[in-house]
Amino acid sequence: MVPKNLRYSKSHEWAKLEGEVCTIGITKFAVDQLTDVVFVELPDVGDHVFAGDSFGEIESVKAVSDLYSPINGEVTAINQDLIRDPAGIAADPFGKGWLIQVKPEPGSNLNAMMSPDQYQKQIDSEAH
């Protein structure tokens, strides 16, 4: 349930870096914990995001959570489908439920993020 081609943060974001495009989302584990997502707030295209800083929030009936960027960069796209239908994130959090795309600052990478195996260990311990 944890895709092998992504990197992960402690706060349950995933990221994928392909050339000049870093796609960021939240994991299925996070979405399952939230359930009943009613609202997703994302930055505007052109905004800057910073590693470790909040770039938006996701709100469920139960609670609200900040969304944290794993990388410095400029927002190049946001997922408009999620703005229209926030609950849709539950169907495919690692795919169609992506949140934002960022053009990373030169030289930045995702090396500080967790590997799929490390993240799997984290959620295994959180599930208990």
Binding site: D36, V38, E59, V61, K62
Partner: protein
């Protein structure tokens, strides 16, 4: 580890997400809060409410003790009647909101889980010379709620009493599988339904029976959104030791003319205090939820504070309850709510947000 109800193993085997609630390990949801909420509004849902406190009273002065600590009038209860009222401190603040049951042979009281020990102590210290004993039966019993438009029919032959024969807020001592139980037409969801009290060893059997009758397990998450739509107060949010019944909109449950009771003198004064904040309903125009503690503002001034907020699955709107200064309580008043540093526009609306069609 928190306390567990007799249904704990059921919740775990059903895959419930278990959270701490008032020191109890309780299911917050089995599938999704919205799904469970909608089931109660359209069909029927099943809740484990065994964490609530169940007290009974023994002795000739049972009525006198209840009258001494309760804002409502227990002397006018008919046999089988259930009535809502408050226990207040001597300053008129609310210690708990409770139901009192009148039986042909005595009285019972259902109190909030988080207030049980406090209320038992309060009752005992209020006894004085009265000849009465307070018996806490919570640990020996289980309590389940079946709520929703299909609940009454589904429970027709559940016990020895057809709930359709009970008026709203009436109860009957009867039998479930040859053991004594209590069936009441009460609830905390804004829907018709019943609450059943059985011995703790029958809890799982009753749960399975009700599931087989079509009731869907629902957690405290849905219970919260349901009661919020129905504008029912929740202790610790809308109610507390600093809040009096008149502020909370519960003045109807305070019978100042019934004779002396704890808090009455203070309540006589507080009833006339028109400067106190009042409980109001809010509808927000955006989707961000104003949760407990969010400040209400008008023209830059703080005029109140949110006590509960959610996204209403039934109304598909963002709603909240709050305490507001008297000048900001009129229905239609527009103001803003500071939701985590950003102002969201809101309008005062009449309570309840949702009322079922009769």
């Amino acid at each position: 580890m928190g306390q567990r109800t007799p249904l704990y193993d059921r919740h775990v085997s059903l895959g419930a997400r278990v959270v701490d609630f008032a020191g109890w390990e309780m299911p917050v949801q089995y599938t999704s809060i919205v799904e469970e909420h909608n089931t109660v509004r359209t069909s029927m849902g099943l809740f484990d409410i065994s964490h609530m406190g169940r007290l009974s009273f023994a002795g000739p002065d049972s009525l006198a003790l209840i009258q001494k600590v309760w804002t409502n009038n227990a002397a006018t209860l008919k046999d089988g009647q259930v009535r809502y009222g408050l226990v207040c401190n001597d300053q008129g603040g609310i210690r708990d909101d409770v139901l009192v049951y009148k039986w042909p042979y005595g009285y019972a009281m259902v109190v909030n889980a988080g207030n049980r020990e406090k209320i038992v102590a309060w009752l005992n210290e209020s006894i004085g010379n009265l000849n009465v004993q307070v018996i806490d039966q919570s640990a020996d019993t289980a309590m389940l709620a079946v709520q929703g438009p299909k609940a009454i029919a589904a429970c027709k032959d559940l016990t020895g009493v057809d709930p359709a024969s009970l008026g709203y807020y009436f109860a009957a001592p009867t039998r479930y599988e040859d053991q004594p139980c209590v069936l009441s037409r009460t609830g905390y969801t804004g829907e018709d339904g019943v609450e059943v009290i059985v011995g703790k060893n029958q809890g799982q059997e009753l749960w399975d029976d009700l599931v087989a009758r079509g009731a869907k397990p629902c957690g405290l998450g849905a219970r919260d959104t349901l009661r919020l739509e129905a504008a029912m107060p929740l202790y610790g949010h809308e109610l507390g030791e600093e809040i009096d019944p008149f502020q909370a909109g519960l003045g109807w449950s305070v019978k100042l003319d019934k004779g002396p009771f704890r808090g009455r003198d203070a309540l006589l004064r507080r009833k006339e205090d028109k400067a106190m904040r009042q409980r109001v309903g809010l509808e927000l125009s955006g989707k961000r939820i104003a949760r407990e503690g969010s400040a209400l503002k008008k023209n830059g001034e703080t005029v109140g504070v949110v006590c509960s907020g959610t996204f209403s699955p039934t109304l598909q709107k963002t709603i909240a309850m709050a305490y507001a200064d008297p000048a900001a309580t009129a229905v239609g008043t527009t103001l803003t709510v500071d939701v985590r540093g950003k102002d969201e526009s809101a309008t005062i609306v009449a309570l309840p947000f949702y009322k079922r069609a009769k």
